[in-house]
Subunit: 351 residues, 2 copies
C-alpha cells in the first residue's frame, strides 16, 4: 500500500454502519483508484458485507475492534478508551499508517479524540470544524461550526487562515474572499473580538483577500467564499440555513399536495424539482473537516447514505493529495498572530 | 382623541417616507377605527399626501419637525437631538400623549433614543428586540434580535419572561412553549449563560412553560413558540433564515426560467406559488417590538410598503389594547430574578 493514499475508517460510526460505510467506500474507490482503506470495527459485521462488495475487500484491510463509540456516549467517557473503532482509526493517522480518518460517529467524541491524539498544529491555538455549503452561484466554506463555543480575535484569525487554504484547495479558488460573520449597523457592528480579528486580517503581512464583514442574510447570495465565525454562531447559522431550506421545500410539497391543479402541472415541473433537489442535496456537501490538527479528521453526517459517505471520502482524499495539513503548517509558521494582534491593538491603522 | 388609542408616528423614517407611512396609516385606520395618529415630520411633505388620503387626515394630527434621523446617522450623533421626527415621536409616548410609537427609520437610533427617553421597566435590566416569524404550522416569537450583543443568564431569563407575555398577547397562546436557542450535544451543550438561564426558568416560582433548549434547525419546524437568544445569536438566526428562504425561492425561479417545459407547467402552479408567497410574505410579519421599556416602540422594516407598514401599526395597537407593557411590569414585580439566579447557582436542583 506504499504508493497509495491510505484512509482509515471508523466502520462502526453512523446510523446504518457498517453497511453505509462499505457502500460509501465502494463508490469512492471506483472514483479514486489510488485509495486504500483501513477498516476499524466489528469483523463479524464487516466481513459479510465485504463478500457483497468484493471491490471494497480488494482495497481494504480490516482491523477488528471489540468496542465502538455510541451516539449517546459522552466524549469524556470514551476519550481514553483506546479499544474503540473510532480511537483506533484516528490513531492510525497519528502513527502514519493512514493520511486521513473518516467517521460518521459521535461528533463530540470524534472532536475530542482527534484533538487529543492528533494534537493541534504548532502555532494554531484551536482546531475548527469546517464545511462546504451551497450558495446561489456556487459554494462557500464556513468555519468554525461548533468546535469552539467562545473565541477570541486570534482564534478567529487562525480560522480565517485555515479557511483560506481550505477554499483554495477544496474549491480551487486563487484568492478566496474571506469574511467575518457579523451583524448590525456600522457603529456598533457586532462583537469586539470580531472587530479585532478584522484588524489582524487586514495586516498586509497576511496574504488574505479579507473583504470585511458579512451579514447572515448575504451568505446565501455568495457574497463570500470563506465565512469565519466562532463555533456557536457558525453552528447557529448553518443549522438555521438547513432548517429553513427544509421548511421551504416542505411548504411547497404540502401546497402541491393540496391542489389538484398543481398536481396537473407537476409533471412539467419535475425537471426543475430534480435540479433544485440536486443542487441542495446535503449528500453533495457531506464531510465536515476538523482543521488545525496534525492530520485530517473528517466527520460524515451520521444519517447519510453510501453516496454521501463517498463524498466525505472524496473530500478527505482531495485535501490529502493537496497536502492541506502541510500548507496550513507552512502558512502559520510565516506569521506571528500574537504579534499582529498586539500591533493592531497599539497601532490600529489597518482599517 | 380621549377615548381613542393614539399612536405616534415618525413620518420621516424609512426608504419611501412619508408616502409609505401615510399609505400604511390609511390601511390600518380602516381596520382599526379607534386609532388616532400623531404624525411627526416635514409638513411640506406630509400635507400634500393627506390631501390624497382624506381618511388619514381625519384621524391624524401633524406636528412639524425641521429635522429627521437619516439612515446613515450614527446613534450617538442623533440621540440628543430633540428636534428630529423620531425623537419627538418617541417622546410623545413618554409624555403620555401616545401609547406606542412606530418608526421605519434607523434601527440603532430608534433603539438608543427609545431606551434613553422611555427608560427600562423597573426590574428589567435590558430591553430586547422581539418579532414574529413563520414556521411550518404557524408563528413563533423570537428575541433578542440585536439590542444586546452579549447577555448573561438573567438577561436571557428576562427575555423569556417578556417573550412569554408577548406570545400570549400577540399569538393568543395560553401556555407558549418557551425555549432557549442552543447548540450541540448533551454534555457540552452550548454556553454557560444559557445553561444557567435554563436553571432559572425551570424554577417553579416562574409560571413559564419552559421546554428547554431548541436547536436552530428545529426553529422552522415549530418546535417552540418563544425562542430566546442573545441579540447577536438571534440576529444571526433570523437573518440566516431570511437569506435562505430567499435563496430557495430564487433557485426555483431561475430553474423555471431556464426550462421551457416548466414554463408550460407554471400556470397550473400559480395557486401554489401565490400561497407560498403569501405565507412567507415579509410584510405579514413586519414590526419588531422593542420590549422592556416604559412604553411600546415598534420598528417597521425600512423598505416595506403601505401594507407592511399597516401590519406594524396593527401589532402595536394590539399590544397596547392588551396592556402589554403593564403585564410585563406586573410579571417582573412578582419575582426577583437575581435571587432565583443565586438559588439556582447554590442549589441547582431544578434540572
Amino acid at each position: 500500500m506504499s504508493d497509495n493514499l491510505v484512509i482509515s475508517i471508523d466502520a462502526m460510526g453512523g446510523d446504518n454502519s457498517p453497511r453505509v460505510v462499505i457502500e460509501g467506500i465502494n463508490i469512492a474507490a471506483k472514483r479514486n483508484s489510488d485509495l486504500r482503506f483501513l477498516l476499524f470495527g466489528d469483523e463479524s459485521k464487516i466481513m459479510p458485507l465485504l463478500k457483497q462488495y468484493p471491490k471494497v475487500a480488494k482495497v481494504s484491510k480490516v482491523i477488528h475492534t471489540e468496542e465502538y463509540v455510541k451516539n449517546e456516549d459522552k466524549p469524556s467517557q470514551v476519550i481514553r478508551n483506546r479499544n474503540t473503532s473510532m480511537y483506533m482509526a484516528i490513531d492510525a493517522v497519528r502513527s502514519g499508517r493512514a493520511r486521513a480518518v473518516v467517521s460518521a460517529g459521535n461528533t463530540g467524541a470524534l472532536m475530542a479524540i482527534s484533538k487529543m491524539v492528533l494534537k493541534t498544529i504548532k502555532g494554531i491555538h484551536r482546531p475548527a470544524i469546517c464545511t462546504i455549503m451551497p450558495h446561489i452561484d456556487g459554494k462557500y466554506v464556513m468555519l468554525d461550526l461548533g468546535a469552539n463555543t467562545e473565541c477570541d480575535a486570534i482564534n478567529l484569525a487562525e480560522f480565517a487562515i485555515m479557511g483560506n487554504i481550505f477554499a483554495k484547495h477544496a474549491l480551487g479558488l486563487k484568492a478566496p474572499r474571506v469574511s467575518l460573520l457579523n451583524i448590525g449597523a456600522e457603529e456598533m457592528k457586532g462583537k469586539e473580538e470580531i472587530r479585532q480579528a478584522l484588524k489582524i486580517l487586514k495586516n498586509p503581512q497576511l496574504d488574505i483577500n479579507c473583504t470585511g464583514y458579512i451579514e447572515p442574510h448575504d451568505i446565501a447570495n455568495g457574497a463570500a467564499d470563506v465565512i469565519v465565525a466562532d463555533g456557536f454562531t457558525g453552528n447557529v447559522a448553518l443549522k438555521a440555513t438547513e432548517g429553513t431550506a427544509r421548511l421551504v421545500v416542505r411548504l411547497i410539497k404540502r401546497a402541491v399536495k393540496r391542489s389538484i391543479f398543481a398536481k396537473i402541472g407537476l409533471p412539467f415541473m419535475m425537471g426543475v424539482v430534480l435540479k433544485i433537489k440536486k443542487s441542495m442535496d446535503p449528500r453533495s456537501y457531506n464531510g465536515a473537516m476538523l482543521v488545525g490538527l496534525n492530520g485530517l479528521s473528517v466527520k460524515s453526517h451520521g444519517g447519510t447514505d453510501g453516496k454521501g459517505y463517498a463524498v466525505a471520502i472524496d473530500n478527505a482524499a482531495k485535501l490529502v493529495r493537496q497536502n492541506f495539513v502541510d500548507t496550513i503548517r507552512q502558512e502559520v509558521e510565516k506569521v506571528d498572530l500574537d504579534e499582529l494582534n498586539q500591533e493592531s491593538i497599539y497601532e490600529g491603522y489597518y482599517l
